[in-house]
Symmetry: D2
Subunit: 261 residues, 4 copies
């Protein structure tokens, strides 16, 4: 069965900025989904910020294997309860791919536990992404490096935790560098941050970028059953302990009582 992939698009600049609308007439989410659907192993659909519950209903998330996130102008409009819902779904096993300005998306900051800040410059400069981890699944089929002639610069320090793996590092024409492809695991969910994708440039029409996105979806996909209650902290009664023990000492909790949280 194909990997059920949901592309979440903020869908703001595509509607109120002529440049962006011109490059992405079907929305950035639409172009990203198209790039994903070129692989038979992936079935990508789209939702946007403007949909009810931002398109991220419990039902929809339950049917999603991997979520791809692009946002920029309206991070603050994403409701906190929806962010928490998405976080729980990641912990239960859904993959998450965060793109470009999504570094400041609530869901990414929520999962990283850090500011996720960086330096930036919008000057249409050249970016060159180097594969630092050859034959990593996310770099499958890629050359040693690839270039994007026009991109926004993101510079270090990138305010994220040490990643599990660094897959790409970017060189910028103006003199900066950036760790552009980073993997994390949060609960049972695989998380990948991928840097490129400023909305005034045709980045998601680029063939190599498309290949990275498809690779990332396959890497992030966890085929195992979702964890039903990823935040549970179950009590193990004394008579269920793997080794026989006798209860002793003073107690706070009565038998059968729930833990404090």
């Amino acid at each position: 069965m194909a990997i059920r992939t949901l592309v979440w698009g903020e869908n703001v600049h595509e509607r109120n900025n002529k440049i962006v609308a011109g490059i992405y007439p079907q929305g950035m989410h639409g172009t990203i989904a198209e790039a994903l659907n070129s692989d038979k192993g992936i079935t990508a659909t789209t939702v946007t910020l403007q949909d009810p519950e931002h398109g991220l209903t419990n039902k929809k998330l339950a049917e999603t294997d991997v979520l791809v996130w692009w946002g920029h102008a309206a991070h603050g409009e994403v409701k906190d309860e929806i962010v928490e819902r998405v976080a729980e779904r990641v912990w239960s096993g859904m993959g998450l791919i965060v793109l470009h300005s999504g570094h400041f998306a609530k869901i990414f900051k929520r999962l990283m536990g850090t500011p996720c800040n960086l330096t930036w410059r919008e000057a249409g400069e050249r970016e060159r992404l180097w594969v630092t981890n050859p034959r990593h699944p996310i770099a499958a089929g890629l050359p040693p490096y690839f270039e994007l002639e026009y991109e926004e610069m993101y510079g270090e320090p990138f305010g994220v935790p040490e990643p599990l793996e660094t897959v790409f590092v970017s060189w910028f024409q103006g003199g900066e560098v950036f760790r552009s492809g980073l993997t994390y695991r949060r609960g049972a969910g695989n998380v990948f941050y991928f840097r490129p994708g400023h909305e005034t440039y045709p980045t998601y029409h680029d063939k190599t970028v498309g290949q990275v996105l498809r690779n990332a979806v396959k890497w992030a996909y966890n085929p195992q059953p979702a964890i039903a209650k990823p935040t549970d902290a179950p009590n193990v009664p004394v008579d269920s302990a793997p080794e026989k023990i006798t209860e002793r000492g003073p107690k706070l909790h009565q038998a059968g009582e729930k833990g404090l949280r």
Copy 2:
């Protein structure tokens, strides 16, 4: 100069539970601070949940090098804005040591980005902590293992991200195991989680536990100047780029405009 250490105590069970009050007549925070102050390199003071702003004013945090956190019954009463303030201070360079039931403290969950859940049993069973990382600063002066005859069991899986380092792993009489000492870095702040310390047992009177706490404070201390604005994402204007470049291509932002977030 001594490391300015602040012990944050929830101070609930010490007041409303006779057993806890009997073991910790000066509060758990008081006993912990005493254990820390036995080292001349550390100056520990205490605040509690009941203090104005939970004792965590901007002024107090600015004067704190390392914060030690114990909470259990009242995680929910800690105000979100204070949690965010503490998180920012960690990112700017303050060390943080989270103890025992603090795994469910808002500040720990905030910094981890995961549920921080586990399994548990309150049966006064024996815990044996093994040093898995010999000669790690936090294990300085410790034997290969040490025992706590009466402790609450915490069992795996522990819902946290892969740590930077695993310093301790616990064996429990009832058959479980737990990664009991884990290090993280969040921004410029060093974070250490240490498992033992159920309030109905005299854990913080234990000499080896005291040694671990003192070691952890020294390890967590970052002597460098605090980062002034740890969440800033500064724009680098074209004429400030390290390499000379010429602006080109379509733009979203006007010169001098702030970034979107």
Copy 3:
């Protein structure tokens, strides 16, 4: 196509120790291969120390996707040049699964860069392996823990580098703990260490152990093309630099010269 898996068996105790021969009449490698071959996605064959070149010819390694290693009595008899050959094949993309006493195999120590030592006791005690990383591919289909009634004890500290991920932690009846399932990446090769498997006990006949081994083979498999020369350090001539530069300053090397190593 099935994953071409090669099980390397030392095949010493199976021949000179009646107990081991009784438990593993077809050799430990034979039993392990059988457990792997119960999955249609895996084709496992075996070679042993006694084969020419220990069965690890260049041709055989080139046809191997994942190598599984069990050795104990004769680590020192494995030729250094063969160890180096296997290491190169791992760097180029072959998966490697090291079992139990293989912690002291030359190939494991070579890839870890550490002593890989531990404490041990042969007393037929109970081991309980806890899954610390639920829904990790290597833990697919497993319960929260599983037990081996008779096993050799391995205790911490385990002298290995911090792993990429900790998948299992063991509890032992005699009071020790051990990080029993650890993942690493070395070059393009995925490496997994799995603790159980003392030769005087029927560990590799255990169904859950078989499941772990099959999971591990699938996890370790890197479907991408092997890196042809994994130790190459190519010179990039000035006129091949991605950005145009002019050579300047004093030089050590003449054009076209190989690097020093």
Copy 4:
């Protein structure tokens, strides 16, 4: 007491290449030691490849807290037994700082377990090192980036394991990037790789480079007592088990027997 630091110099190009001799008349090791000795907390001395036992006698290593390594032309002349001796000393707690072309030093490859390869170009191009981990001890007192106007290029992929932390990433004029400051722990020893330092340029006369070297020595220093036998794998007899157990089942080893290795 000051940190006893030993700078190991290959001392080949300084003697047979006029350019190098001109830049480093006291040897590169001499210049490096001088930069270290400008800090009262460090006492740096030097030895070279040409000294008996390459200057790395057991006595000398026992008196060394941190070893700094620069080599290039004669990696192959370093005796394997000395490499192994240094490795053991690292595992027992000595810090190790590997510089530039030392990426191919036997001791670095031994501790990493990987090829440690990279791409390179000697064209006197500009290198800009970005601090990716602000307020890390190794970056203490540094600006966001610093430049070396003339350096050799090293490019990704760098064939090393995922580091504990990435402290610096370099930008090169010719278009490449490189992870220029990486931390590792091997046994009780802290290891830092630092990229700059091609012998035909005055890199080790640079003030900021000197600051990094001093920071790195302080970071790498482990003040705890050395581990006496860092490769030992002690047997724990049944009657010494932390929990009382009874020996059972078939055995391979007789009581008191040494383990196999």
